[in-house]
C-alpha cells in the first residue's frame, strides 16, 4: 500500500486498494493457497488488477455505469450469521439445492443427495480443477474476472455426464449482512457434457438494507448437443451491489439459455459473454429489469458467433420508475467463418417516471456475408391510446398501467421455454409487485 491510497476515517483502504489489501492479508488462507497453479492464477490476477483497478467510465464497456458508489466503501470480512434455513429464499420447486452463505458452501443448508451428476464446492474440489478453473475467465481481459480470480473463496461445481438429464438444480447465493459492508466473490463452474442437460435456477439475495457486494464469475461449458437453462433471479438488498460476469462456451448443437431478472440491488451489472464455438450452437439471452427509485442496472452481453449456422436470440426489457437508470449494451460479433448466422436482438425500455434515464447501445460487428442479423431498440412511455382503451372498458387507471407494464414484460418472459424457470419468474415478479404495492400504500 502506498501512502497515497485513499482511506476512510477508520483507516481501512477504499476502492481497488481495499480489495488488494484483502488479498495481501488473505492470500495464505484462501482456498488452494498450497496449490501452485491456484497461487499463480491469483498472483497473475492481482498483478492485472493492481495495474488496471476497477473499470471507469472512460472504458467504452463501462460508459454508462459508474462504480464510484462502490469505491466509496471499505469492505470487511463477512461474519456469517445464518444458522438455519429459515432465512433462505423460498424454494423454486427443485429437489436439489446448493446453498452458499457469504460465499461459502453450506452443506448443512443444501440438499444434494442422490443426484445423477456430480455437484459440490469449488473450494473442496480445487485439487481436481486444474485446467478447468480459469479456462474461460481470463483475468487479463476483464478487471472483474481479475478481481474474482484474486479473491474467490468458493462456488458451485457441477458436471452433468453425457446424456444425463439433470433436472432442476437451485443455487442460492446469500449475503448475511452485518454492520460493515462485505464482499463476496463466488466462482461457479458448470460443465454440461455431450447431450446432457440441466436447469439451473440461481437466486442471489441478502437482507433488505444490508450493504454488500456479490461479484460472482461463472464459467460455463456446454458440450455437443448439451443444454443449460440458466435463470438468474437477482433480488439483492436495495443497498447492495451485484457485479456478475458469466462466460459461456457452447459447442456444436449445444444451447445456452439464460434469463436474468434484475429486481433488487442498488448498482447491478450483469455481463454475459457467450461464445458459440461449433456449428448450430445456440444461445438465448433474455432478461427483464424492474427498477425503482435509486436503482441502477446494467445488462451487457457479448455474443461471439465463431462457427457457422448458429442462431442467437436476445430480448431484454427494462421498466424504470423513480430516479432510476437502466443500461443495455449488447454486441453481436460475427466472425468470418460464421456463415449463415442468424442473430436477433431486441431491447426495449419503458419509462414510468420523469426522472428515470435509459441508455442503450446495441451493437453489430459482422465479418461474414451470408448472415441475417438484426437488432431493435425502443424507448418510450406507456402508450396513451392503450391506456385509454383499457380505461374505457372500466379498468381503473392504476390497474390499467400495471396491466400494460406486465404485458410489456411478457414478451421476454414468454421467450423462456423451461416451465420451472417460467414458474420461478412468475413468483419473483409477483413478489416484486407486492413489494411495490406495499410501498405505494
Amino acid at each position: 500500500m502506498n501512502e497515497m491510497s485513499p482511506t476512510a476515517l477508520t483507516g481501512a483502504p477504499l476502492g481497488a486498494d481495499s480489495f488488494l489489501h484483502r488479498y495481501e492479508g488473505l492470500r495464505q488462507r484462501l482456498p488452494g493457497a498450497r496449490l501452485p497453479w491456484v497461487a499463480a492464477l491469483r498472483e497473475r490476477a492481482a498483478e492485472s488488477f493492481r495495474a488496471k483497478g476497477f473499470p471507469t467510465r472512460r472504458d467504452e464497456a463501462w460508459k454508462y455505469t459508474d462504480l464510484a458508489p462502490l469505491l466509496a466503501l471499505g469492505f470487511a470480512e463477512p461474519l456469517s450469521s445464518v444458522d438455519d434455513d429459515a432465512a433462505l429464499p423460498p424454494s423454486q420447486g427443485g429437489a436439489a439445492r446448493a446453498v452458499f452463505v457469504d460465499g461459502r458452501f453450506r452443506a448443512d443448508l443444501s440438499a444434494l443427495d442422490d443426484l445423477p451428476y456430480r455437484v459440490g464446492s469449488v473450494a473442496e474440489a480445487l485439487p481436481r480443477l486444474d485446467g478447468a478453473l480459469g479456462r474461460l475467465a481470463q483475468p487479463s481481459e476483464q478487471p472483474l474476472a481479475a478481481l474474482n480470480a484474486m479473491l474467490f473463496e468458493d462456488g458451485l461445481v457441477v458436471r452433468v455426464p453425457p446424456g444425463v438429464a439433470g433436472g432442476v438444480l437451485e443455487l442460492v447465493s446469500m449475503a448475511s449482512g452485518g454492520e460493515r459492508p462485505t464482499a463476496l466473490h463466488p466462482r461457479h463452474l458448470i460443465r454440461i457434457e455431450d447431450g446432457a442437460s440441466l436447469t439451473l435456477i440461481e437466486t442471489t439475495t441478502g437482507p433488505e438494507g444490508a450493504r454488500y457486494l456479490q461479484a460472482p464469475v461463472f464459467e460455463i461449458e456446454v458440450a455437443e448437443g448439451g443444454r443449460l437453462n440458466h435463470a438468474r433471479l437477482q433480488t439483492e438488498s436495495r443497498a447492495a451491489f451485484n457485479l456478475s460476469t458469466v462466460y459461456a462456451a457452447v459447442a456444436g448443437g449445444g444451447t445456452y439459455d439464460s434469463f436474468v431478472l434484475n429486481a433488487g440491488g442498488r448498482l447491478v451489472r450483469n455481463e454475459i459473454h457467450t461464445a458459440l464455438q461449433g456449428p448450430k450452437a445456440a444461445c438465448h439471452l433474455n432478461g427483464a429489469q424492474l427498477l425503482a427509485d435509486g436503482q441502477h442496472a446494467d445488462t451487457t452481453t457479448v455474443i461471439d458467433h465463431a462457427a457457422p449456422d448458429c442462431p442467437s436470440r436476445q430480448t431484454y426489457k427494462t421498466v424504470l420508475a423513480g430516479r432510476s437508470r437502466g443500461v443495455f449494451q449488447g454486441k453481436i460479433h460475427v466472425h468470418q467463418i460464421a456463415q449463415r448466422t442468424d442473430g436477433y436482438q431486441m431491447n426495449q425500455a419503458l419509462l414510468l417516471s420523469p426522472e428515470a434515464e435509459v441508455d442503450s447501445k446495441p451493437q453489430l460487428e459482422i465479418y461474414a456475408d451470408d448472415v441475417k442479423c438484426s437488432h431493435g431498440a425502443t424507448v418510450g412511455a406507456l402508450d396513451a391510446d392503450q391506456l385509454f382503451y383499457l380505461r374505457a372498458r372500466g379498468i381503473p387507471a392504476e390497474a390499467a398501467r400495471r396491466m400494460l407494464v406486465r404485458a410489456f414484460l411478457q414478451e421476454a418472459v414468454e421467450a423462456v421455454e423451461d416451465p420451472a424457470i417460467q414458474a420461478a419468474l412468475d413468483r419473483t415478479l409477483q413478489a416484486w409487485w407486492q413489494a411495490e404495492d406495499r410501498e405505494a400504500a
Binding site: 392503450q386 380505461r391 387507471a397 410489456f408 411478457q410
Partner: protein, 247 residues
Amino acid sequence: MLDIRNLTAEIDGKQILRGIDLEIRPGEVHAIMGPNGSGKSTLSYVLAGREGYEVTGGSAEFDGKDLLAMEPEERAALGLFLAFQYPVELPGVGNANFLRTALNAQRRVRGELELDAMQFLKLARARMKDLSMPEDMLKRGVNVGFSGGEKKRNEVLQMALLQPKLAILDETDSGLDIDALRIVADGVNALRGPGFSALVITHYQRLLNYIVPDRVHVLVKGRIVRSGGPELAEELEASGYAGDLAA
C-alpha cells in the same frame, strides 16, 4: 339515459363540436350520420372521456350523473361502452385476461360479485359462439394480429360480455364484409330491450338496414342539422349530404 345539451368541444384549440343537443331515452337506438370531419368520432371520444378533447361548454348527463366530470373507467362502470372505430392492439395482454379484468373491475364498482376464471370462461365461450368467433381468440393478445373484421367482432364480444346500458358504436361497420356486418348487427340487436340504448355512428346507411334506429340525426360541422325517423337514413343514402353541407 343520455342527455346532451349544447355541448361544445375542441382539439388543440380547434373547435370541432359547436353545440350538440341530443337525448336518448332507455331502450332507444339512435343513429348519427354525417360526412367525414363533421365531428362524429369527436363526439364519441368526448363522451368516453379521452384526453386531448377539451369540453368548452354545455353538459352531458348519463343516468342523471355528470358524465363529463368522470374518469373514463367510471363512465364504463356506469354502463357506457364505446366500440372503437380503430380498436387498439395490446401486445402481451391476453384477450381472456383483459376481458375478465374489465368485467370484474366494473362488477366491483357496481357492488357485484367478481367472476372466477371458470365462470368467466363459460360466459365468454357462450358469447363467442353467438358471434362465430374461434375460441383461440381468447388466448391471443388483445387485437394483436386480428383482421379488421376480427377486431370489430372482438369489440362486439366485449359489449356482449360487459352488458352496457348505452353502447356507442363508432363506425363499427367500416371495413366489414356483409357476413361480418350481420354478425355485428345481431350482437347489438340481441342486447336490445328496455335497459339498453345505443348510439350508432356511421357514414353509410347500410348498417342501419340491420340495426334499425328509432331516430336518425345528421351531424354537419359540429352541429346536428336534422333529425328524423329511420326514413331519413334512406333519404341521405339517395341524396347525400350536399344539401346539409350547403345549409
